[in-house]
Symmetry: D2
Subunit: 345 residues, 4 copies
């Protein structure tokens, strides 16, 4: 519940409006020892060990940074030469919602048509072939998110095809995993961390939107891309003096699959809400299987719901309708979902 | 105590090796409500109100960012045009220890000779006068830290003179306050937040090195410099989705002057250590009155101390000696100081 | 004629394959006196005076730079804050053919749908309204070219409407005039330099593609945008030590409307070619009225023409056809046009 | 002679106040054929062939750019990763007189103490050893100029020692040759282009200050550094559409050692002036053997000379004296030198 100026309203606006899960907080309360600074502590090393086990890859490197935008900009700026560009779906977070963070590091984003938030291999190849000489940027990286910004996920065959195109044209493949746990526990998911680590050059596993106070684990699989990477983290302001503060949270997060349990609650609540809305004959703008859903509502209904709930209006539709976004989190309770559904006759 | 590979050793290496003060952690454990994202929550607003009271300035703006480097680079990049440069003491954090973070935003740092980590007004004027035309960068900002990187602090008359030079040449004055609380409670201090807010265009008050999990409050006094500043924070990756997580920590920090109490412990422990070392006829490289001290020790003594303590070696001196740095924190216990002194015959 | 490896072929590939017009060269041969460096010479001042007369604006400033890309990147980087973006047609030179030069200065280009290479006011407004908060870049400049990259030109009513939208949303209007002289002498043109200077915040008048050895005159009308601009030119590498070398060329160029005469030849030759092709029932991809034309040719015909002529293939079309580009210049002779037409049965 | 507002005065202010040598201009007047754009023409290739012969290195690559600053910034930005820095003498052009051009590409310049404008191997090694970890930039390139900014030149043994240090620490060695021809014909010179190409990773040979209208040849010896370099030139605005205009000038420049003859005149005139001044018991601030000399003159004498001559005042000295700079060029006549000497009693 958000305590607004006058009234109490429940927020479906995002998955980062609550603090941290109790098991995560416990690690912070129990932090008594001194730890080395700047991510050189034993907890940060332990997180790397845990990720290596989950991906069955003993040579990858992990770095914990405070948020998704700084992970994206630091990694991309580290691995591209100045004239190299990133291919992204036009709905990609870096293309739309990071205030030009990637361009601010000097790199063009080539925003491409997407379907349900996803790029396909054909589109990537077309872009590469259109960039023919030194008067244009040189496409060098493919950026995708899973779950995507519209709640969908990449399937194994899609990711394999993208990897093949990347190999064909020497492109790097980078996956933004702000909501990767939500993708992994989606009903229609057929990917796991082992496969993702085999197919990508790097990805990140998000904590901020899945029950931590803050923090994302950047996983660099391609060892060449990890060379001197800590210089970049420091230069861009992402090297936390108390790196162990995020690391202990991630230890709890990865232990006993807590990260999957938290994502599962978020997905289940959102899917319950989606089913309820579909049962009321409301249409969805995108076929989400994760914790963000996108119903198309009449402006009248939107106005009614806004009295009791917080959520974002995304996009205008014909006939006085809008696409709205409802997001559930690790902390969303069933009764909140039920309360919302009850408002809709 | 740091748990090394084999043995337990106590760290005087920095003031960010412990977690957070219990009163700070309590706020996180008590976070039950939902909050708006990206620093638009009531706790973040409350921090601004608290800073306005402490500075007796109702028009300033505050922004909470995760760490000092990202505060520095975001603020400097926001307010300078591409050819404008920052005047800094050659010991300044931005000049030496931020991996070229400011240059990475496109701006030259003009590193100047300093005495005990401090710039003086004459040096600033000399630099301005040397920059005569468009073939050279245009000096536009003065960067200082208090406490400085060598534990000293600026006095009121020094800061007034620097402000006068800044006014004379239309320079902005920006103070890095990673250890500002330590300066405020130093025995020789004659400045307060009201005066600092009167003399500077902006400063930041550090939390990471003074008992929080993380976080710094950037205080922008000059309202023109605050225009569209949130775009910059987002672009550089410093806009935390869960901004309220740092904000609630700062509420506890500022309440009942906890921030001064924490800094006082750090200073007292370091000064006790300094007095003990002076009593053993050891020399100091800089006249620190805060929580970092810089004795000149023989290499033999250094080797002995390294068996039980962690600390940084700064600089070579003649006759097989080095300047070392001992740092105490809000959490340093008297017995640790005594144990170190005991090792020195 | 280009002297290829074996044979002599005539180039319609661009308008910069010849040296300079004899009247231009004469100024260089006659350069006997010493001149001040870095564009502070009397010839550079004279160019400013000439432009002020042509635009009836006595307060504007001119700067001569060596080429179009460096004009664009220097001006845009000088006037935008880091999070501010440029609205450009998707065919705009900065969006496609400058290797990410604008992004390399840190700024996003918002590439918009265009018709015949032109932006319209409605599109600009739509883009502005979609950019709602600090999670997205802030649109701040509109970039257009005239003549456009596809040979079309802006009309007075179009430019007035764009100016109105710019005023409504505090956007800067900047016109890339690499081929501005070609636009001014087009048959359908209804704009003059006076009106352009009234409606734009800045524009440049190109010399490289219109008979000079090199050089473009950037005209900054809005005096606020000229502040400290020479620092920017120097920083980006565009401040020629011998600035007078371009200035004397521009003196000849502007004298007795030589620049219009040169553009007129280019347009007339291209339009003659276009008419000839239309008479042979060939279709044009864009309705050009300037010196670049874009016929759609069969691949068979293209192969035949390539044996005797140099030109660029732009875009694939159905039924084994491609759009090609033929460009005429100040130096194109009628017999070259006739020779090409003769090849087409 | 510069034609000032009222009077005619002779300029010793620089070596770029005259146009181009007649043999250079002749190539432009004779340019009748069409040429390919963007430096892909036969003249540009021919320049590469000529440089390969002069250096006896058949694998190097050359690129012609319009001026020194854009050569420096384009090359440095192309070959360094974002956190890598350039070691430069504190008198280096990039460190002082390029308006932060290198920092604007994101890279720190580590300005080092120099003697007579020169860096030595010991200083470089000291800097490298001081940069110990990811909290500091990573030194990766050594920048030197010959002739230096104070008229001195590097000797073979000095350059060999610098190369050895570069090899020891994997540093790139880059030589700014704006006045390289002046160094090559200096009386005390013991280097040639063959040796320079053996010892450096890249250098440039300047034309602007030695009798061309404009232009510098960047010579990239290390082939790895040449990868995709044309993308960088285009992105930074240095890829001239009419690249052949500079290329034909350089063909004349390199033919029959014209470049050496032009530099020889500049050196001889400056050295004649220096000898004349020394004979009048005037002191020199630096031991120049090239075309820039730096006498220390009384303010009274300076005021007298300023009535008839243009020159720069560099630096204040005790006893009402200043260091001034007199520069001679390829076009300086003996009578100008004599006229100046005559003014000094």
């Amino acid at each position: 519940m958000i305590n607004g100026d006058d009234i109490m309203i429940y927020s479906f606006a995002n998955d980062y409006s609550e603090g941290a899960h109790p098991k995560v907080l416990e690690t912070l309360v129990n932090l008594k020892e001194q730890n080395k600074g700047y991510g050189l502590d034993k907890h940060s090393k332990n997180v790397q060990t845990l990720i290596r086990k989950l991906t069955k890859n003993n040579r990858l490197h992990t770095h914990i940074l405070p948020g998704g935008t700084i992970v994206n900009l630091t990694f991309i700026a580290a691995v591209l030469r100045p004239f190299e560009a990133v291919i992204s779906p036009d709905t990609g977070h870096i293309a739309v919602h990071e205030t030009g963070a990637i361009e601010a590091t000097g790199h063009k984003i080539i925003a491409c048509p997407s379907t349900n938030g996803k790029l396909d291999a054909e589109t990537i190849e077309k872009v590469v072939l259109e960039h023919t000489d030194e008067h244009m940027v040189k496409p060098k990286m493919v950026f995708i998110s899973s779950a995507t910004e519209v709640g969908t996920i990449y399937y194994k065959d899609e990711l394999i095809k993208i990897r093949e195109i990347c190999d064909k044209y020497q492109l790097l493949l980078y996956l933004d995993g702000a909501r990767l746990a939500n993708a992994l526990v989606a009903e229609d998911n057929d990917l796991d961390l082992v496969t993702i680590a085999e197919l990508c050059d790097a990805f990140y596993l998000g904590g901020t939107k899945n029950g931590l106070l803050f923090g994302e684990i950047l996983v660099i699989i391609n060892p060449k891309l990890n060379e001197d990477f800590r210089f970049m983290i420091k230069q861009r302001g992402g090297l936390s003096a108390k790196g162990f503060v995020a690391a202990v949270q991630f230890e709890a997060f990865l232990k006993d699959d807590l990260y999957l349990d938290l994502a599962r609650n978020a997905n289940e609540m959102a899917q319950k809400l989606q089913k309820g809305l579909l049962a009321k004959n409301l249409e969805m703008a995108y076929p989400s299987s994760t914790n963000q859903i996108f119903p198309i509502l009449s402006d009248e209904l939107i106005a009614k719901l806004q009295k009791k709930f917080l959520f974002n209006i995304q996009e205008k539709k014909p006939n006085n309708k809008h696409v709205v976004r409802f997001v559930c989190s690790w902390a969303t309770k069933e009764k909140a979902v039920e309360a919302l559904l009850k408002e809709i006759s």
